[in-house]
């Protein structure tokens, strides 16, 4: 069966510091991968999606970037964090577009 892992579960970072959040999927090949941000337990906003290695699409302009160095690895990064980057970050995968998405347990990011 397929599983998705995100880490770390929680992270506290100072303003201006770099960020790297990692997500890996097991049990499937060439999945679509997604990064979402959720504010205050409400709806999810899609940040990035990827349909293959090295292929990244951004849905909203922001201080963050994403990379997919391997088929089942998706990384969310920032060179300098802002206070507004605080939130709950969720990684998800699907077999392909228009298919149900399956989420990891998220990373709670707090910026001080």
């Amino acid at each position: 069966s397929q599983t998705i892992h995100q880490w770390p579960a929680t992270l506290v970072q100072p303003v201006g510091s770099p960020l790297s959040l990692e997500c890996t999927v097991e049990g499937t090949s060439n999945p679509n991968l997604y990064w979402y941000r959720q504010a205050a337990g409400r709806g999810l906003q899609l940040l990035f999606y990827s349909v293959g290695i090295g292929q990244i699409s951004s849905e909203v302009p922001q201080n963050l970037s994403a990379s997919r160095p391997q088929d089942r690895q998706f990384i969310l990064s920032s060179k300098k964090l802002l206070l507004s980057d605080s939130g709950f970050y969720l990684c998800a995968w699907s077999e392909r577009g228009n298919q149900p998405q399956h989420f990891g347990d998220g990373t709670r990011l707090s910026i001080l």
């Binding site: 709806g43 228009n98 149900p100 989420f103």
Partner: protein, 111 residues
């Protein structure tokens, strides 16, 4: 952007009560998905509705997709404390990759 509006935002009921939450849009969706999210965890897919007028049942949960495929509802019969969580509806955007989420209904079921 195809917006999904969910109502009510918050709902607090006692165990054993019935409830319905709604997901509405002015846009037509090819399908809608319902998720439940517990605090500190990722959303878990409950169901996908595809056909206008479709009704799907998942134990005590009944999901309906509107005839025009612009709205959906979730009805819970005899709610239990384990039903507590954030219920999110989501539909595919025009790109086919962006899943548009509503802001959710936060449900609290007390014993």
């Amino acid at each position: 952007t195809q917006l999904l509006e969910q109502s009510p935002q918050f709902l607090s009921i006692q165990e054993g009560e019935n409830l319905t939450v709604y997901c509405n849009s002015s846009s037509v969706f090819s399908s809608l998905q319902w998720y439940r999210q517990e605090p500190g965890e990722g959303p878990v897919l409950l169901v996908t509705v595809v056909t206008g007028g479709e009704v799907k049942k998942l134990k005590r949960l009944t999901f309906q997709f509107g005839d025009a495929r612009k709205d959906s509802s979730l009805h819970i019969t005899a709610a239990q404390p384990g039903d507590t969580g954030l219920y999110l509806c989501a539909g595919w955007g025009n790109s086919g990759y962006a899943l548009n989420f509503g802001k959710g209904t936060s449900l609290l079921v007390t014993p």
